[in-house]
Amino acid sequence: MMRVYHMTEQSYSPAWKGDQHLRVSLPNNACDPQTAADLFHRYYDEWLLADDLGLDIMINEHHATATCMSSVAVVPLAILARQTKRARLLVLGYPLGNRIDPLRIAEELATVDVISRGRLEMGFVKGVPYELPVSNLNPVQLMDRFWESHDFIIKALSSHGEPFNWEGEFFHYRHVNVWPRAYQDPHPPVWITTASKNNAKQIAARGYVMATMGTGYASKGTYDAYKQQRREMGEVEPGLDRFAYLGLVAVGSNEAEARRRGEFIAEYPRSSSRVHAPFANPPGFLSVDDNVRLLKAGSGRLGRLVTKDGRVISSSKGSVQDLMDAGMMFCGTPDQVYQQIVDFSNAIGGFGHFLAMMQAGFLSHEETVDSMTLFAKEVLPRLQNYHYTPHEAPAVAAE
């Protein structure tokens, strides 16, 4: 069984010109509000179509960037909680270490869960480094804040008795009492993203859904770490529904059409990392050991992916074929895309949630609708019957 979530970053692609930096420093005079409104409406139309087509929905947020206009994830969540009928609504997610008020997060999530009648999937993320110069929250101790915020939110959502007290290292409240209470009991399912084995173990210890985002075959290391942790806790094999993977998707009725769509979508990884270099690695975001490796090797290590046959490619400069070989993009006819997803899933350890960026870069509304419809009609029914069949994967260590 595999569920598939339609995802778009709601980019403001009209501002992607030349090779200018798109994050943190691009003034918003490059944003025309009327164009932004048109784009938002179109992206919501695509999510409503996903609901009609039997797909689920994924939402994210980023800040001060033309790559993603969704700066407050609760806005699309709130709109879609009311406007959609059946789709699961995955937010992946709330950048917990980047938020000063976890009580507000618990209130937002509980409200969305109630309005959607229990369709919320509650994802928490470390977030990308570029957010910290904007939020001005300290990159040092980011994950310490993340986990305290997490602990608080889980308690706030699952407490139904007397208001409780919280005086932690980072957050202080004296009368915590979330109204309305969440629809799902004790709280919506928790998802956390990771690219590291250590985090994978922490996620596994709590039995949460672990998501890896475009990390290709290196994901196998984190999947293995998750399974190892569960085995140590006495579980033979965690279900496929504990694993999620995000990839780019372009489907066409023939290969040429799919490749053309893939080219438009590949503009997303090509533009996504265009940022003034110091913002890509604020102090404390990476470990000291990782920074020593970067100082030795240069920043070229960032955004590096390894293909199935061991080739190193750059996610920001690679061709569509490179991205496909690296398990970052799934592109072709419905038959081809189905086979690519299944092969990849089997290679990294098997996932039950596929997060499909079917709109990204310069892909138009019409082409997105066609790609989504082909996927939903011809690929989705087969993925719903997916069974994990392990097969030989290349030896690529998770970083």
């Binding site: 001005n136 300290n138 040092v140 604020p282 404390g284």
Partner: protein, 288 residues
């Protein structure tokens, strides 16, 4: 609470060693003989073979610790502000039973020195604050201190040095230990200085408590914190004096080590404690 204690008191000499103060192990060296100078390094750390340390050691005993989290000094997760570091160094002086100490601090090190002196000058005799950060001077929309975390290495060198070539370094030629120090120093600087950015909003209003002779030295070409910021900082410390150092930027101890050390030594020699009352002017008035 027990008073802070030092284990393994260091033997004087040039070798780098470590010392545990109240359970926290820090790297330090002591060199020279004479009155104690506590040298508090800037956010970039300090090379323990820097000429300025030897020049100072010709006239004094120079004690150069690596701040908690910098170099190979430990840091507990509870330590997150310069205020914490200042209390640590007050414990440090007590544990080593140092008296009549001259503190020489550069940039972030000068911020630590000022935070110590507003708490207690009991064990201090003089302060030398060079290209200090630590206070808010301008209005809320003016960034007083250049955002070093938003600069490439080349951009930083251009603003920080009179001669930007002084700041050039070949990372490929450095040892793993040296690279590790660079990474740790950068992380520790952010831990203490990310937000509020490189200052303590409370510090300026407390500077009047500093009741020992204080000299501000300022590399004239500094574009990270400009001399005007330094003059304002200086005006908050009773009786303090401000001196520019030519042909130097944010790190005058590196670009003009002879002049820097010479100014420190002559300041110590010219001004005894008698020049300033040990009591703050405000308190004196109240008692009068």
């Amino acid at each position: 609470m027990e008073p802070p204690t030092a284990s393994n008191p260091p033997i004087q000499g040039e070798a780098a060693r470590s010392l545990s103060i109240a359970g926290l192990k820090v790297e330090l060296i002591r060199k020279g003989v004479g009155r104690p100078i506590l040298f508090l390094h800037p956010e970039s750390g300090i090379d323990l073979t820097a000429p300025v340390l030897d020049l100072l050691a010709e006239n004094a005993e120079v004690i150069v610790p690596m701040h908690p989290g910098f170099g190979s000094s430990e840091i507990p997760s509870s330590m997150s502000t310069i205020d914490d570091v200042a209390y640590f160094y007050l414990d440090f002086l007590e544990a080593l039973d140092l008296r009549d100490v001259i503190i020489v601090g550069v940039s972030l090190g000068a911020w630590i020195a000022a935070e110590m002196a507003i708490k207690s000058t009991n064990r201090l005799s003089h302060l030398v604050l060079a290209n200090a950060v630590g206070i808010k001077v301008g209005d809320r929309e003016t960034r007083d201190i250049a955002d070093i975390f938003a600069l490439t290495e080349q951009q930083f060198s251009k603003l920080a040095f009179h001669d930007p070539a002084t700041g050039e370094r070949d990372l490929a030629s450095l040892s793993d230990d040296a690279l590790r120090n660079i990474a740790r120093n950068r992380e520790a600087s952010a831990r203490f200085g990310w937000n509020p950015y490189m200052h303590d909003p409370k510090l300026r209003g407390r500077l009047h408590r500093i009741d020992i002779p204080t000299l501000f030295l300022w590399g004239e070409s500094d574009q990270i914190v400009k001399p005007e910021y330094g003059r304002t900082f200086c005006s908050g410390v009773p009786g303090a004096r401000f001196e520019l150092i030519e042909k130097a930027g944010h790190f005058p101890h590196l670009e003009q080590p002879d002049i820097f050390a010479g100014r420190v030594i002559s300041f110590i020699n010219e001004s005894g404690q008698s020049q300033l009352s040990r009591r703050s002017p405000i308190l004196s008035q109240e008692l009068a």
